[in-house]
Amino acid sequence: MSTDTPDAPSDDAPSRAELAARVDELEDALAEATSEDDTKKMSIIATKGTLDMAYPPLILASTAAAFGYEVTVFHTFWGLDILHEERSKNLKLSSVGNPNMPVPNAIAALPGMDRMTTKMMEKKIADNDTATIEELLETSLDMGVEFQACQMTIDLMDYDEADFYDGVTTGVGAATALQDMADADIQLLV
């Protein structure tokens, strides 16, 4: 028959003071674990390079930075054009494949139509005082947003690292993006 009774104090049981010290220790560890990284993070993957699709990642990135978020935008495939100093100023709007366009696809596919719809959109952007892609990009860079250009697609598109805006990070790949997404509070694919 066992002589152990749960309530009976024994010599090797921790004292009250030892337990209190242990509780303090655990509370400190918990506080450290929960407060270690309280900066919110957002990770965006930007894959599109048309004029209309360049806006959402930049608007969300600059706004999140205004909220104090640490923001990373990983640009891949056509999304690279947003970071390309020259190409970002000439992003086009496609008139084909968008049923909201005022012209049927058969006409929208005619030569020069993309140029026309792009001009119309650029005029609307100017008339509405909507920030340009360049302004949004420069503002976001100033606010500390990290823009990353996917190395594999830089090579694929035959771009040069010098083609991108100052401050753009190159030499990164999917694993970097995945790590950012894993750490982030908000993850978006645009």
Partner: protein
Amino acid sequence: MNAEFDIAETLDVKGASCPMPVVKTKGAIDDLAVGEVLEVLATDPGSMSDIDGWAAGTEGVELVEQEEGDDVYTHYVRKTE
């Protein structure tokens, strides 16, 4: 001038549209001292909801008041830390 608080700085973002009113407000708040109030003048109707949401979700700022005028939306934001 409001009787309840002094305005330290005024930011004029009239004409600018989303996301610039919020982004520029953040920049102007950074330049203030703790306790000071920034007045923001905007014409973007979305700024009423956006600056409210930004202030609620951002550490160290507090929305003191918003006024909806005929054409101009005025926001008062205090830097709290």
